[in-house]
């Protein structure tokens, strides 16, 4: 209905002949061009979303792997050494940042209670642009607390 009205208006301004005028064709093509641009934008967005999904998956595996290493080690120092993180001789509450490809792996350790060993609250997260891609929190009991 609207297209018909526009067509009539345009036609009145030009020749009184049947068929489409150049202006009508150009307007139609411009409209379809905008739709094409939107579609292209969607394709780019789909690619970006796919890449983001891959990053999240990588981050999830990295976080899980870090927790596995932290839980499998005898001491908190061994765990940090295995992850290639430099640390001080005494860790009570500390945060470590490991830069990875496309995100940062953040490991928060906090000692809780003091038995023959120490119970540590472990929080591992992967962040990119201040956004959490993946995160795991757990607790691990380390039998030894001495560090060479």
């Amino acid at each position: 209905m609207i297209i018909h009205a526009i067509r009539n208006t345009l036609r009145q301004g030009s020749r009184n002949e049947k068929g489409f005028t150049l202006v009508e064709v150009i307007i139609s093509i411009a409209a379809l061009g905008i739709i094409c641009a939107v579609l292209l934008r969607l394709f780019v967005l789909a690619g970006a979303t796919n890449n983001q999904a891959n990053d999240v998956q990588d981050a999830q595996i990295a976080v899980t792997s870090a927790v596995e290493v932290l839980a499998a080690s005898d001491t908190v120092y061994d765990a940090l050494d295995a992850l290639g993180i430099s640390h001080s001789d005494s860790i009570t509450a500390e945060s470590f940042v490991c830069p990875k490809d496309g995100y940062n792996l953040i490991i928060d350790l906090a000692a809780r209670g003091d038995y023959p060993g120490t119970l540590y609250d472990i929080s591992v997260s992967a962040q990119a642009d201040d956004k959490d891609l993946a995160a795991i929190s757990t607790s691990t009991y380390y039998k030894e607390q001495t560090h060479d």
């Binding site: 489409f20 150009i26 061009g33 292209l40 394709f43 690619g47 596995e68 839980a71």
Partner: protein, 156 residues
């Protein structure tokens, strides 16, 4: 009258050219869309295969995490995950572009003819570091190459 005919002819040519240009742009958009779709689907497939292989090995290790039960050994197929469970041994290895699992009698080497195919894969790399096992699964090639790697801790 002649001038009017000329204008009409030019107008028709311009309309035709514009339509041809539009058709060309539409073709490009469809081509770009097909390319993007193929690329995304291909990446998804390779990621899925690598992830399936990684998860399978990860689950197998966790399932059989007992004292001296899991090890990484060198067989005819290269790096192989060995799971000893008494009379039988399970081998998980890469061969002929796929991940295979072979259940064999203890101390009998794995055979591809007796193995079950798990998923298509580009390759695996397993490293036993005592308390942990590093797994690296590769799938695809070129730009579509995807690597899924991680570490599994041994509690035993």
């Amino acid at each position: 009258m002649r001038s009017r005919g000329k204008v009409l002819a030019i107008e028709s040519i311009v309309v035709m050219l514009t339509l041809i240009l539009f058709a060309f742009v539409v073709f490009l958009v469809i081509d770009a869309g097909t390319g993007a779709y193929d690329k995304i689907l291909g990446e998804k497939d390779t990621t899925q295969s690598a992830r399936v292989a990684y998860s399978y090995i990860d689950a197998k290790i966790k399932q059989h995490d007992k004292q001296d039960c899991i090890s990484v050994t060198e067989t005819a197929f290269g790096n192989t995950l060995r799971i000893d469970s008494g009379a039988y041994t399970t081998y998980i290895f890469y061969a002929d572009g796929a991940l295979f699992e072979c259940l064999a009698k203890a101390d009998t080497p794995p055979k591809i003819s007796a193995a079950n195919k798990i998923t298509d894969l580009g390759g695996i790399d397993l490293v036993d570091s005592g308390d942990v096992i590093h797994i690296r699964c590769t799938c695809g090639s070129g730009e579509a190459r995807r690597v899924v790697e991680g570490t599994v801790g041994l509690r035993s």
